[in-house]
C-alpha cells in the first residue's frame, strides 16, 4: 500500500538555519502519527511542508504516492486544523465549515447540509448561525476540525490543536480525536510538544530535535526503549544515567535510561543513595535522590514506608527496566 505521506531526504533551510535537515519519513494510510519535539525542532515546519505552506529546499514530499514538488496548497488532498484555529471572523460557523465546499463550487443546499452534518459529528449541532467570536476555545477547535473534515481529506494535519485548551478539555478532546480517527479511518498527522499527548493518542511517534528525527516508533518503543539520551530526556522525566555512572556501577558501557517509577526502595543489595527531597503527588511520592553524586528521581507508590529527607536508602530496579543506549549523542 502506498504511504499516505512520504518524506525523502527533505530539507528546509532558511539561510544558515536548518529548520528541517534531511528527514526521511513514511506515514501509513489510516495511521495516527504524532510529531513530537520541543519548539524549534522542525516538527511544525514538517507539517507545513505536507500542507504546502512551505516548500522544501531539498528532497521530496509525496502524498499518496504523488510527488508534491510543484503542487500548491489549494490542490493538495490534505486539510489542516490550525493552532489558532484560523476561523474566518466575518462568516458564521456554518459558512466557515462550508467554506471549502463553497470554493469547490457546491450549491447552497448541499453544502449547508454537509456543514450541518459535520457540525453534528463534532458534537456542535445547532451552532451553525453563531459567529466564531461567540464560541469558547474548545468549540472553536471543534469548528476548525469540522471545517477540515468536511473536505474528506486523505490526510488531516493538526498543528498543536489542543495547545490552547485547559487540561480537562484537552483530555476529553484527546479521547474524542482518537475515536473520530478510528471511525473515519483518515490518516491523522499531529504536531505536539506534549509527550503525554503524543504517547496516549498516536499509533506511531517521531521525536524531533534540531530539524531531524531522533527516533520514530510506537509509543512503547519511545517510552521504554529510547534510542538516544534526548528521547529519554524529552519523553517524560526519565532518569538519564551518563556513561560514567553506568560504568562505575557496573551496569554497562553507554548512557542508560531509567524510568522514575521503576526505581524501588530495597532493604539490601542495590545501590546506596541519599534522599535530598520529597514531593507528595497524591498517588505517589516523588523522591529526589543523590546516587553517587548523580541526581535522579524515583516515584514511590502510596502506602510504602517513606524515608525522611536526608536519610540514606538503598535503591534498586529490575534489570529489564534499565534501558542501555548505543549512541552517546
Amino acid at each position: 500500500m502506498t504511504a499516505a505521506v512520504e518524506f525523502r531526504r527533505v530539507e528546509r533551510h532558511y539561510g544558515e538555519v536548518r529548520a528541517v535537515d534531511g528527514v526521511d519519513l513514511s506515514i501509513a494510510q489510516g495511521e495516527f502519527f504524532a510529531m513530537l519535539g520541543p519548539s524549534g525542532s522542525g516538527k511544525t515546519t514538517c507539517l507545513r511542508l505536507i500542507a504546502g505552506f512551505e516548500r522544501p529546499t531539498g528532497g521530496e514530499v509525496a502524498i499518496m504516492g504523488a510527488p508534491m514538488g510543484d503542487v500548491p496548497p489549494y490542490r493538495r488532498p490534505v486539510n489542516t486544523v490550525f493552532q489558532d484555529y484560523a476561523l474566518f471572523p466575518h462568516l458564521n460557523v456554518r459558512d466557515n465549515v462550508a467554506y471549502g465546499l463553497m470554493i469547490a463550487g457546491q450549491g447552497r443546499a448541499p453544502r449547508r447540509r454537509a456543514a450541518d452534518e459535520a457540525l453534528e459529528m463534532v458534537a456542535l449541532p445547532g451552532y451553525g448561525a453563531r459567529k466564531p467570536s461567540e464560541l469558547s476555545g474548545g468549540q472553536r477547535q471543534r469548528v476548525a476540525l469540522a471545517r477540515a473534515l468536511v473536505m474528506q481529506p486523505k490526510v488531516l494535519l493538526l498543528d498543536e490543536p489542543l495547545g490552547a485548551l485547559d487540561l480537562k478539555l484537552r483530555e476529553a478532546m484527546q479521547e474524542e480525536l482518537k475515536a473520530l480517527q478510528r471511525r473515519l479511518g483518515i490518516t491523522f498527522v499531529f504536531v505536539t510538544h506534549d509527550q503525554g499527548e503524543a504517547l496516549s493518542m498516536a499509533d506511531r511517534v517521531a521525536v524531533f530535535n534540531d530539524g531531524r528525527i531522533v527516533q520514530a516508533g510506537t509509543p512503547e518503543d519511545i517510552y521504554y526503549r529510547p534510542e538516544a539520551p534526548f528521547v529519554a530526556d524529552f519523553v517524560g522525566s526519565s532518569n538519564l544515567l551518563p556513561p560514567e555512572v553506568t560504568r562505575r556501577l557496573g551496569l554497562g558501557d553507554g548512557p542508560a535510561a531509567l524510568r522514575p517509577e521503576a526505581v524501588r526502595l530495597v532493604s539490601e543489595g542495590g545501590h546506596a543513595a541519599r534522599v535530598t527531597g520529597l514531593a507528595f503527588l497524591g498517588t505517589a511520592t516523588r523522591l529526589s535522590l543523590d546516587l553517587d553524586g548523580h541526581r535522579m528521581t524515583a516515584l514511590i507508590p502510596r502506602g510504602a514506608d517513606m524515608p525522611a529527607e536526608g536519610s540514606d536508602v538503598r535503591i534498586g530496579w529490575a534489570p529489564d527496566d534499565l534501558h542501555l543506549m548505543k549512541v552517546s549523542a
Binding site: 505552506f53 489542516t80 489558532d84 477540515a148
Partner: protein, 317 residues
C-alpha cells in the same frame, strides 16, 4: 522587644504634594477622565458643532434677489435652488469625482498596503512609512502646482509620451469628451489624477492597519480549503480589510467633496461643490446658498456611512 512606648512606624511613607495629587486622582478615576477629555469635548461641542448648526441655520434663510440682502425667514427655497440644473450639475460632477477618486485610491492603495502589512519588516517598514508620509510634509499647494507642471501641454508627461512616440495615444485620449480636454492639466482626468495623488496616503494607512490585523494563518486556511489566491482575496482578504477600506474612503471621499483648490488649479472651468461654496460666500455674497451647498457633502457622507453599516462593512471590526 519591650518597646511598648514606640509605636511601630507606618509601612506607608508620608506623601509629598505631587503624590497627594496622584492620590486624589487615584481615588476618583472619573475626575481624571473629566479633566482629560473635558477641554477637547468643549472645543468640539461649542466651536465645531456650534459652527455646524450656524451653517445649517444659514441654509434655511434666503437671499432677496433685488437687494441682495439676506432675508431672515425660515424657508426651503435655498435648497430648492440646489436642484436647478446648473447647481445639480455641480453636485453630480463632484460626487462622480469623489467616487472615482475613492475607487481608484482603494485599487492603488491595496497592493501597497498589502505589501507593507505582510512582507515589509524592520528597515523596509520604516521606508514604507516614510514614503507614505513624506508627501504630507510638504505644502499641498506646492504639490498641486507641481502636478500642473507635470500635466501641462509642454509638461513632463507630454514630453514622456513624445519621447516614447506615443503622442498620438495621449491626443486620442484627450479627444474623449467629458474626461479629456486641451491638455491633461485642463481636463477632468488631470483633476482626478491630482486628487488621487494627494489623498492616497489617507487610503493606504487605514487599509494597511486593517490588513496588519489579518493573521497569516487565515490566508493559509483559505488556501488549505482549496481557494486559489484570487478566491482568497475575494472571500477572505477583502472582507477582512473592508473596515480599513471604508475608513480610507471616508477620507478620500469627503476630502474630494469639499476641496476647492485642486479643481481651481488643475482641471476644467466646470465647478465643484467646494468652489461653489467659496464663490457664493465670497464674491456673490450669497451665504444661504453657500451654506446649502456645504450641507450637501455632510448629507452624502451620512447616507454613505449608513449604507456601509447596513451592508455589514463594520462587522469585522
Amino acid at each position: 522587644m519591650t518597646s511598648a512606648d514606640t509605636s511601630p512606624a507606618s509601612p506607608v511613607t508620608a506623601p509629598d504634594a505631587a503624590t497627594r495629587l496622584s492620590d486624589i486622582l487615584w481615588r476618583r478615576p472619573r475626575l481624571l477622565i473629566a479633566l482629560l477629555i473635558g477641554p477637547p469635548l468643549a472645543w468640539l461641542g461649542i466651536v465645531y458643532l456650534g459652527a455646524l448648526f450656524a451653517l445649517l441655520a444659514q441654509s434655511f434663510f434666503s437671499i432677496d434677489e433685488f437687494s441682495g440682502q439676506i432675508r431672515y425667514e425660515l424657508t426651503l427655497s435655498t435648497y430648492a435652488e440646489l436642484f436647478r440644473a446648473y447647481n445639480l450639475d455641480i453636485i453630480l460632477r463632484t460626487v462622480a469625482m469623489a467616487a472615482s477618486v475613492t475607487v481608484a485610491a482603494a485599487i492603488v492603495a491595496f497592493p501597497i498596503a498589502y505589501y507593507a502589512a505582510r512582507y515589509a519588516t524592520g528597515r523596509w517598514k520604516a521606508i514604507f512609512y516614510l514614503g507614505i508620509m513624506l508627501p504630507l510634509w510638504s505644502s499641498y499647494l506646492v504639490k498641486v502646482y507641481a502636478w500642473k507642471l507635470i500635466l501641462a501641454k509642454e509638461g513632463i508627461l507630454g514630453w514622456l509620451f513624445e519621447t516614447l512616440h506615443l503622442t498620438w495615444l495621449l491626443e486620442a485620449y484627450l479627444a474623449i469628451p467629458g474626461i479629456g480636454g486641451n491638455s491633461l492639466s485642463v481636463s477632468w482626468t488631470g483633476t482626478f489624477l491630482v486628487f488621487l495623488y494627494v489623498w492616497l496616503p489617507f487610503m493606504i494607512l487605514p487599509v494597511q492597519a486593517a490588513l496588519e490585523r489579518v493573521p497569516p494563518s487565515m490566508l493559509e486556511a483559505s488556501g488549505d480549503l482549496g481557494a486559489r489566491p484570487g478566491q482568497t482575496l475575494r472571500h477572505v482578504l477583502i472582507p477582512l480589510a473592508l473596515p480599513g477600506i471604508i475608513a480610507g474612503s471616508i477620507f478620500t471621499f469627503s476630502l474630494t467633496l469639499g476641496d476647492y483648490i485642486v479643481p481651481q488649479i488643475v482641471g476644467t472651468s466646470a465647478r465643484m461643490i467646494g468652489q461653489a461654496v467659496y464663490q457664493y460666500q465670497g464674491t456673490a455674497g450669497n451665504i444661504p446658498l453657500a451654506a446649502a451647498f456645504a450641507v450637501v457633502p455632510i448629507l452624502i457622507m451620512a447616507v454613505y456611512l449608513w449604507i456601509a453599516k447596513r451592508k455589514g462593512a463594520f462587522d469585522a471590526l
